[in-house]
Symmetry: C2
Subunit: 371 residues, 2 copies
């Protein structure tokens, strides 16, 4: 069972940001073919291994390929661990994050399930890792409103404020890599990071770096973003991104994360040379501990800016897991209750998958539609 | 009169790096029309002023426009202070570096003259700020060999080793901005730079940053570059680049250089928002003092790697100015002595212009041709 603080955790450096590009609605819901979602079995291919293998060379995305706010998912797509067009199924995401990053099965299932219900089409089992796509049409019966799913780039539900390398949606570009923010991360790495005889002074990114950088990012956005939303779900994903980077981008050989490796993922969205995925599956507890450690240097609490620009703390949520409740119950649309047939079956499968690593009973969503 | 150490100085962050792209020789020397080079009068438009003005908006270079190793010159061309095609005359360079950066007249003349004699066509008064161009054909009589001038991107004479943001020619790309090196500069800035309430912690680039970064770059390239050449001319230009960045890229309003401003020049090659050129002309003494300060933390001396990878110090040059002698006498081709007519007149004008800020008598070049 997870502690309340630990249970906040949900790793999502993968899961990060958004602004939808307008696409004409491609196929009508009536033309869609439902696909029954099945949680894949737990794999035992979970040891250290060099990534990518020969079957997954880097290939730059084409103009119609979707890429979005999450460097991990973008990297997987650029190497074909995810479909190169950036449109993926629940099962493909679980397999890809294990294969590429050795993410543990239940954590991967929760993240993939959350992405699908928040920003995908659970009837046809497809979600865009970037923005809207004609391949991911409006849900049957327009159950989540008349617009196509936004992909994980769409702000709200999934993508949120105080990212590491994307701006808040209200400030600027919340989808693409921002040099200005990454430069800031490098300044903090130079100041607080460790030295390396191989990659140079201050080139090893540590928990201390993330402690100072994440706090600085919060302070900045609290001032700059008049509509800052940092409720417990997003708050935890935001710190979870930093924990994800430390634990999943580090080279599995020695567990250290150097700036050239980090730059390969963030800037070039490609696996670094001579890089190995971590040697054991990274689960929700790993990310939870990372979040706790990063927060411990400058403890702040979930909240949001009010109309006067003051940061107002949230009342605590008295639930099994505040982060689970905020993300999967309060954020996801209640209108999924109107689903029938395959969609209904898939929604139930995904709700169970999201709840699982939190050790909480699954609760049906109560949030607004079409947002 | 400059001290021997001071007299080393020649600011060239402008002047930096190269690899020639093969172009067909466009016009034969016989078709060229000579242009008499005249040193422009000293301007008294040398105060602080916002750059760019409305007449000089940023415009990205087209596929045939030349850009090269020097962010300052590239920025001037991207704003039309230099011709946007990247092919400039001696007079245009002097005017542009004053207009955009407030570089003092004699220093600008020496740099422009050196660029023209090293890598341009002094008969038609044109040099490429990037690589070879059909607009800058072989010199009359192929006086510097049968190939067209290489532009300042061409390694040797002008472009050299241990740059800040370009690799040594023997290691990698010596012309274009390298994220890996700039990232390293940011790590050093984070560690040794000053804090700013506006641009953030560790975001102000200082002499201390350059002291540590330039030394680290030397140590790296001494190990990695089997043919490292760091003789007194290039050595001084290399440290002069760092002094140039601190003194000419800093905002003229308060004289500080922040990482967003530095990134604007290095990465985007555009003048930053709300940026003012320095409030007084920056001359050879300013750069000389900067070089001395940067070197003082980790004093090293000119030399080169031998066949075993050992760094071998040069014997001192017993001349009016070692840097002048190495760059303008030993490096430039002796074959200019065969020039006649307008070319002869221009060579003499430029030789005088190079010698002037060093306070040394002009000496005719003695170096090899066609290199």
């Amino acid at each position: 069972m997870l502690s309340p603080s630990r249970a906040l955790q949900l790793s999502t450096a993968f899961l990060c940001i958004s602004n939808a590009v307008a696409f004409p609605a491609a196929s009508t819901p009536s033309a869609q073919k439902g696909v029954v979602i099945v949680v894949p079995p737990v794999s035992n291919d979970t040891g250290i291994k060099m990534i990518p293998d020969n079957a997954h060379p880097f290939q730059a995305p084409g103009p119609n390929d979707q890429r979005g706010p999450c460097p991990g998912l973008n990297t997987l797509a650029n190497h074909g661990y995810l479909p190169r067009n950036g449109i993926a199924s629940f099962e493909q995401i679980i397999t890809a994050v294990r294969e590429g990053f050795n993410m543990e099965h239940d954590l991967a299932g929760a993240l993939a399930g959350f992405a699908m219900l928040a920003r995908g089409n659970a009837f046809i089992d497809l979600v865009s890792i970037g923005g809207e796509s004609p391949l991911v049409p409006v849900l049957p019966g327009a159950i989540d409103g008349p617009n196509p799913p936004g992909g994980i780039s769409k702000h709200g539900r999934f993508e949120g404020d105080v990212s590491m390398t994307r701006q808040d949606a209200a400030i600027g570009d919340n989808v693409h890599f921002q040099d200005s923010l990454y430069d800031e991360l490098l300044l903090y790495t130079g100041r607080f990071g460790d030295d390396s005889p191989v990659t140079g002074n201050g080139s090893i990114v540590t928990t201390k770096v993330m402690q100072e950088f994440k706090f600085a990012r919060f302070v900045e956005d609290q001032v700059k973003d008049p509509v800052l939303q940092y409720h417990v779900g997003r708050f935890t994903l935001s710190y979870g991104e930093a924990a994800f980077v430390l634990n999943f981008f580090a080279n599995g050989t020695d567990g250290t994360l150097s700036t050239p490796v980090m730059g390969s993922f963030f800037r070039n969205q490609t696996f670094p040379d001579d890089w190995y995925r971590r040697s054991s599956p990274g689960d929700i507890n790993l990310i939870g501990e990372g979040v706790d450690q990063i927060l411990s240097a400058h403890p702040i609490a979930p909240g949001a800016n009010d109309a006067n620009g003051n940061y107002v703390l949230d009342a605590p949520l008295n639930t099994c897991s505040a982060v689970y409740f905020n993300l999967a119950v309060q954020n996801l649309p209640a209108s999924y209750s109107k689903a029938t047939g395959i969609l209904k079956q898939n929604v139930n499968t995904l709700i169970q998958a999201i709840a699982k690593p939190f050790g909480c009973p699954a609760v049906f969503p109560t949030g607004p539609s079409g947002v």
